[in-house]
Symmetry: C2
Subunit: 395 residues, 2 copies
């Protein structure tokens, strides 16, 4: 056995020295709080559907936690992105900039608006959109005319960009906001994975015109399935609530709908779970941070791999703990995935880059060298908040 | 006070003689079964999201109840319609026939596919699509060419029709299937309101290529928010499951999506509620039928109004108990709505007819005389399964 082929074994040893033998999922929820109490209260009130006090409460407490003015609860992170894009004016014939390295929902939401995704590169430090490369690309590939950014090649309006906080690790959002401003783009923040992450003390999801969060079962907190739109604009908040409740206008009994809307409101039952989960978020984040630090020291000894750490001035929620193979070891990605999963440690690579999917192969794109490299080297490892014994430092 | 102006008072007296003084909602859920047990089991298993045993169980038990081969659980009735239409091949530039007298979701789902709703008339007996009028209309307004039904006026393909069981009352589905066959249209059944209704002993939702059900909080059974696609085709069932889970292809770890999909899967938490509710469905239906019969005798004495009853050979689930004013009394619709709601009896008129909404005012349509008449005369009255004391006949 060569030195190289030891990598899978070394990684497994390093992981197991922190979290034990397994089997372990990539990310599991934890229900140690008031979940039971609130679900019971919800059932006893007979209000399980979309009008109910837990929905209101979840929205208020979520916004308060984030330091945002408003949060609007919806059925999924995908729905949150869809509505945010529509409210940003993204429509038929537009293009929207997003990283090639993202989950399919970001690109799908663009297509739901009749628009075309336009893929851009990521940077190694944050795994997210590279503001420098983006600025350089837009300077040559687009022209700003009458307050609109136009793709020189396709002639289409580029109306928005969607930076995404990859696996919860904060993207360079301040620099991206500056690019968005200079090129007249709305910035919608895909914070689906980043609840609890901050940049300069400010929460992911609160930087753009609107932010989108997800509370799917695999996320830091869960509502079963769910998401939220975050905004400081009362107009956007009200319009979002209108759109997600079939755009029905208020009336004592008449059914009148003034635009094409959706049935995207989060049920009260799911919001009840969310209220209980939100109370535990600080402890989940602390546990995930502790897990990061344990993994960091354990993996320090393994040559050819490093653990992704939060950029300076930022806090990652460490939703997923991300290994990055050195380029020289990237040929062993599949071996590591095979071996870890075979021994019961659930690991996952990056998503297939969006432009590699046949459905998006003809979409416009910038040079994607860094995203291509990252996709060969990313491995996410077991990351649940509950992996370490509570409050006990591992010796 | 004229004879005419007594109608609101007479209706209130008739309703209150059956269900008491109120206040009463239009439709409230009842949670007297295993809801609590199953939600607890769901939490204890830590599986609240979209992969979980309650989702599988709900789908199997729902299909079995309906006598269908497959049911696929989704987040809403709207999502069920959207996916069903897409699977029927409805796409950009198509038209889809639906009643003008329907809830907005039916029309919205058509627009999500990039298609245009084409509104047709209803019949007084069922409140649903009129097969005779439809056949006559299509014979002059369309031409069948190369196996496609073409709108002569717009030149667009009409690819599908969506009959809807209005308020749960069964539509003339057999006759509509014959029209669909003759004009080469896929028939998608909007059974959102009709769980438990039957035509010739066969369940609503199982007649068309696919059926769509809803389990919103106001429906006969609820999952908080939710819906299902019903089909006998294993190919459509598999494709539906694929589309609602982001069209991800199966692989041990790779993320590959082979078409634009959705995040529409029902969470396990909501399915747990659904399993408990489904167990109680027969008793809910019996109670609603008993309520119908009480209302029927009580309202018999009121001149100018009748209670909508199931057509011969059909069973209505009586989701909503529907009053129909005589045409001569239709000018009193608003008075009745005002008075009933003021005394705490929640009543609701028909939906604004789809072609009366500005968003659909330019959509193609057949003559809609009966729908216009019905919209002036429909009043739904308090209809919850729990309104009468359990198993005790009212004296």
């Amino acid at each position: 056995m060569t030195n190289d082929s030891n990598l899978p074994h070394e990684i497994v040893s390093a992981i197991q020295s922190v979290v034990g033998a397994g089997p372990l999922a990539l990310h599991e929820p934890r229900f140690n709080g008031n979940e039971w109490l609130y679900l019971k209260e919800c059932l006893d009130s007979s209000v399980v559907s979309s009008i109910g006090k837990f929905v209101d409460r979840f929205e208020v407490e979520l916004a308060s936690y984030l330091g945002a003015k408003y949060a609007v609860a919806v059925v999924s992170g995908t729905a949150a992105l869809h509505v945010a894009l529509r409210l940003a004016g993204v429509t038929q014939g537009h293009e929207v900039l997003l990283p090639a390295l993202t989950f399919i929902a970001t690109a799908n939401a663009v297509t739901y608006c009749g628009a075309t995704p336009h893929f851009v590169d990521s940077e190694e430090s944050s795994l997210g959109m590279d503001p420098g490369a983006l600025r350089e690309y837009l300077a040559t590939a687009t022209i700003v005319q009458g307050g609109c950014c136009i793709n020189r090649l396709t002639g289409r309006v580029i109306s928005a960009m969607i930076p995404m906080h990859t696996f919860g690790h904060p993207v360079a959002i301040d620099e991206l906001l500056a690019v968005a401003k200079d090129f007249h783009l709305h910035l919608i923040e895909d914070a689906a994975e980043a609840l609890g992450s901050t940049v300069g003390g400010r929460h992911a999801g609160t930087f753009g015109l609107m932010g989108a969060l997800s509370f799917n079962g695999n996320k830091t907190i869960t509502t079963g399935g769910g998401g939220a739109i975050v905004t400081d604009s009362i107009r956007l908040k009200e319009h979002a609530k209108h759109l997600i409740t079939t755009a029905k206008t208020p009336h004592r009994w008449n059914y009148f709908h003034d635009e094409v809307g959706y049935n995207y409101r989060l049920p009260n039952l799911n919001a009840a779970l969310g209220c209980a989960q939100l109370e535990q978020l600080p402890s989940f984040l602390a546990d995930k941070r502790r897990l990061f630090s344990e993994y960091l020291s354990s993996l320090k000894k393994v040559k050819g791999v490093r653990l992704v750490a939060e950029p300076p001035g930022c806090l990652s929620n460490y939703w997923l703990q991300t290994l990055l193979l050195d380029e020289a070891f990237s040929s062993q990605l599949d071996d590591v995935l095979e071996f870890t999963n075979n021994v019961g440690l659930m690991t996952r690579p990056a998503w297939t880059l969006m432009h590699r999917l046949p459905i998006f192969s003809r979409a416009p794109r910038a040079p994607l060298g860094v995203a291509e490299s990252l996709a060969r080297r990313i491995i996410n490892i077991p990351s649940s908040a509950g992996l370490l014994p509570k409050g006990v430092e591992k010796v």
